[in-house]
Subunit: 402 residues, 2 copies
């Protein structure tokens, strides 16, 4: 018997318990031993399955030597951080879906885990049920990984899909989504791109060895400024608007660059067809070329699938955690202000002024407005040109071109 | 130092050697030890990298105790089968891209590997560089997996894409692809679906525990009967024609059903946008729902990526091969002749006869012909109805509806 404790029994934690029970036979066949939930930690009075102890007291878990794997699905960092640390220090494997904790304290927690010969796994922190962290660290690890482009926030992808398909404004789509319970009451973390930014930091860490802990330095623009006009502009150029989390390794390989920004995604791009709450992450490696992973990026059951997948890995090798690539030197962040880029910008006004300011651009009509797609140029050059233009014509917020 | 020998230095084998050398530093960082290619086995006189011994003699590899991992990229079964067996029996880990050998003798080779405490890994046998076997066996293993739909043959997907985009016939597309070297001189294994069938058998084994060894029992129809008219019919119904490898577990869970067949794939389906030589595989699990894996299904470098990914796994745990799910009883194949299905069929002739024979169907014009999409009905009922209709109207070969 391998004892499991689940800390935090909300949407994900309860899904984990459900999966461990419903798929018990399969899991025993896979790991060679029974995974038994001994504790559920929660401050609420919940109904728990037979044989499981519901506790409000973390010490119960920490002091019970039968608990070999702790699932942290509490969210946030206030309790999750000290509890995770104590579990690892006590030689317990920890599996989590907590992207905030991994993005903020992952490096420290991983090194504590290593020092104590246990695993700290977080497949569920990014992409929900989609296998992405282990594929990056294992299946694709023989590649020099150089680029990531992902749709990693289901709520914003749902809102953009609604805006496109129903022709509604961002506030209208958001209001309806709130009413249906598809976004949180305070949707800022999703809508402003902070959730995507955390996941990007975790992906860049897995792929390039980017440092965890300071994801706030990643330039991030959410979708609240995206308009129906942007949808029309993207359609006129044969594509759609998606919130993309992007990272690439710079040639020296000692720095990486990343951003979260609304993008024009052309219809031939594999990310174009990723709609509604679905997530997808595309990774580029020097031998494998581009590979994409697609599925449900959130929800109780898909996220539980990723958590329990990690539990299976731990249970299969309790005494020998998987080796991780160690980087010789930290891969620092570089915002790379002069990296080449193309923009798609709505405008109303004098087309000739736009053509003069943005050499090599393409202009198309879209409804009452026009839209310009620039030629590729250094980002800072483009920004200055667009800035200067804003005195001559009325400009929308720019979309990056993927 | 971990000694590696590569048997068969064609497209894949040479890519493996290239990757082991080009990404050496990364691989050492990941596995904690140097992976060194000691031998390349080939009957041709090839240029080999410095320090590597080119040999025509398999015994050189078998007798050198430094060789811990053998890469079998010979293809076929005549030599690959006995060599693999001898390597495993001698306690060597074997990693392969050989779908024919895995599909024909995988069960036996896996049990020999298990008996000798070594790994037999074959990520590269299906989906080229796309991680799919390990995700099924590891990341998604906590799920009851119940369905697979894949585009697993790049050549046929390329031909169908050319037919659709250029409006050419199958023979014309095939001729051009041969001229460009995109398909083999004898393309039967690709065009008739036998390659896809082998990969389907390997996927069904990984997902459901289907027996390996008798993949010929899987009903298989290739693309040689697909016409420009089928392309038009699919377009009229808002989709495209793809060669799909399908498998599902039947409810009793003691049988599985599978087929390879040209399908109508609607534009909203994630497989719709998989074009040219790309492959994609969608898997359904009881918690994760649908997950899709997309990338390059063939080619020297992508396939090498999968082979070397397996080498990394072996090198990380030389003494403790990953556990595999053991099935209590063999999951037998059932062609399930009365499984429900929809068909899309071109026809010319009396629309009323078609409507009478296929209740609930939808008929659309497509060029000079018409096309009918049936309602869902048992496959054998549909087949009889279509058979009977063929005396009244002229029918094309049916597409399954995905």
């Amino acid at each position: 018997m391998i004892g499991v404790a689940v800390m935090g029994c909300g949407v994900v934690g309860s899904g984990v318990v459900e999966m461990l029970i419903e798929n018990r036979e399969l899991l025993t066949g896979t790991t060679g031993d029974e995974l038994r939930v001994l504790y559920m930690l929660d401050l609420r009075d919940l109904d728990v399955p037979e044989g499981v102890v519901l506790t409000k007291n973390f010490e119960d878990i920490l002091n019970d030597e039968r608990v070999q794997i702790v699932v942290e699905t509490m969210g946030g960092t206030r309790f999750a951080y000290p509890y995770t640390k104590q579990c690892l220090e006590a030689g317990r494997h920890v599996v989590t879906s907590n992207k905030e904790l991994v993005a903020d304290h992952g490096d420290e927690l991983l090194s504590i885990a290593k020092a104590h010969g246990v695993s700290y796994l977080y497949e569920a922190s990014t992409g929900g049920g989609i296998p992405i962290i282990r594929p990056i660290q294992q299946d694709l690890r023989a590649n020099k990984l150089s680029e990531i482009n992902g749709i990693v926030n289901g709520s914003t992808n749902y809102l953009l899909t609604e805006m496109r398909e129903k022709g509604v404004s961002f506030p209208a789509a958001l209001g309806e989504a709130k009413r249906l319970g598809y976004v949180e009451a305070n949707p800022a973390a999703d809508v402003e791109g902070w959730d995507a930014r955390r996941k990007l930091a975790i992906l860049a860490n897995a792929a390039f060895g980017a440092k965890l802990g300071d994801n706030q330095i990643i330039p991030t623009t959410g979708i609240s400024a995206v308009t129906e006009g942007d949808m029309n502009a993207a359609a006129a150029f044969g594509g759609a608007v998606k919130l993309i989390a992007h990272a690439h390794l710079n040639e020296s390989e000692n720095t990486w660059t990343g951003w979260v920004h609304p993008c024009f995604v052309p219809s031939a791009h594999p990310l174009y067809n990723v709609n509604d709450v679905f997530n997808a992450i595309m990774v580029h490696g020097n031998f494998v070329d581009n590979v994409m992973f697609f599925g449900r990026g959130a929800g109780s059951k898909p996220t539980a699938s990723a958590v329990v997948g990690d539990i299976v890995e731990v249970a299969q090798s309790l005494d020998a955690p998987r080796k991780r690539l160690e980087y010789a030197s930290p891969v620092a962040f570089d915002a790379a202000p002069s990296a080449p880029r193309r923009l798609l910008v709505r405008f109303t006004g004098d087309e000739n002024a736009v053509k003069a300011a943005l050499p090599g651009c393409i202009i198309k009509e879209c409804g009452d407005e026009k839209a310009v797609m620039t030629a590729e140029a250094p980002a800072d050059v483009l920004n200055s040109a667009v800035q200067a233009l804003s005195s001559a014509v009325q400009l929308g917020a720019p979309l990056f071109v993927l």
